[in-house]
């Protein structure tokens, strides 16, 4: 056995060992980083799944408020609500006019407290409508209230965006 050969082989073997060890260290570090990344992604998946479960109640709320309905369906629903409120509070709806986009001008007449109660009742309407620009004429307990109703509706893009 030649000493030079022995020394050379040993050197080669040591170099290979060092090379493999450093490569292993690099691979282990990368594997650790991957494991952490996978854990973070699993966590994100879990939170996404819980968000998906809450989507059911959100969709139910959207259907309940007719937010994704067509404007025509919303008008019908809104007018039905107004008639129901008017009948319940003994308030007369004297005009119902469609203005621009989702805005409707409504005029109601009735007793002062009943008219106020009718306005408040809109907060329980089947359609999410916000009263604004109220003109309130009050004389001898009789009131004529003219107000604008802005009906809230999801945009076309979001209304048809199906969520699991």
């Amino acid at each position: 056995m030649n000493f030079a050969f022995l020394a050379f082989s040993t050197l080669i073997a040591f170099c290979s060992l060092v090379g493999f060890e450093s490569a292993l260290a690099g691979v282990d570090t990368r594997a650790m980083a991957l494991t952490l990344e996978i854990a973070a992604q699993n966590k994100a998946l879990l939170s996404g799944e819980s968000a998906g479960r809450s989507a059911i109640s959100i969709e139910s709320g959207i259907r309940r408020l007719h937010l994704a309905d067509s404007p025509r369906q919303q008008i019908m629903m809104l007018f039905a609500d107004l008639e129901a409120i008017g009948g319940r509070r003994n308030v007369k709806i004297t005009s119902f006019r469609h203005e621009v986009n989702t805005r409707y001008d409504v005029t109601v007449e009735g007793e002062y407290p009943a008219t106020l109660a009718a306005l408040a009742d809109l907060s329980a309407s089947h359609v999410a409508a916000q009263t604004s620009r109220v003109l309130f004429d009050r004389a001898d307990g009789h009131v004529r209230a003219a107000f604008s109703l802005d009906v809230f509706r999801l945009g076309d893009a979001s209304a048809h965006n199906h969520v699991p």
Binding site: M1, E37, E49, I58, S125, V134, F136
Partner: protein, 178 residues
């Protein structure tokens, strides 16, 4: 380097020396082989470990890629859910504001009506305008002061007295919501 000097030796001695030398060479060769064998066994073992670690890393990368795609899809869905939740909450808030409006009208008109005959009340986002007629200026001013304290806002008003002594009051009241 192991060598045998055959000079000045007998044949038997030379043979013995030669055999001994061979044995020595064989032992050295075997020892060298063993050392190199052990070293290369380590190298082989390390190579197996590295191969296994690389394979493991590739599997992890594959899992990571699959999860990344799933997470991206989930994030898109979560964004859509979040947008729809925000829209639903905004709709509920707008619907609820009708009660606030009715309460505001009731409070303002009741307060003003104690000192003047209220003829008109316009409510718009951020405040309201009231028109009315009254005779007692002190009461009217007291009403406006109470309005200011109730709604935490400020009133700007005009007052015109007619021949009959009645005061026509119109004012703008800007609410600062508490």
């Amino acid at each position: 380097m192991i060598g045998v000097d055959f000079r000045n030796r007998g044949p038997a001695e030379q043979v013995q020396e030669a055999i001994t030398g061979l044995f020595v060479r064989a032992r050295t060769f075997r020892s060298g082989l063993i050392v190199i064998g052990i070293l290369f066994a380590f190298v082989f073992f390390e190579a197996i470990r590295l191969t296994s670690a690389l394979s493991n890393m590739q599997e992890l990368e594959r899992q990571r890629d699959v999860l990344r795609i799933k997470v991206q899809n989930i994030q898109i869905q979560v964004k859509a859910i979040s947008d729809r939740r925000a829209a639903l909450l905004a709709a509920l808030e707008r619907r609820r504001s009708n009660v606030d409006l009715a309460t505001t009208i009731a409070a303002a008109s009741d307060l003003v009506a104690t000192s003047m005959a209220l003829t008109q009340l316009r409510v718009a986002p951020g405040g309201f305008e009231v028109e009315g007629r009254g005779t007692n200026l002190t009461d009217i001013r007291a009403s406006l002061a109470r309005l200011e304290s109730m709604f935490d806002g400020s009133a700007t008003f005009e007052l015109n007295r007619d021949e009959m002594g009645s005061s026509a009051v119109s004012f703008r009241f800007d609410i600062v919501r508490k």
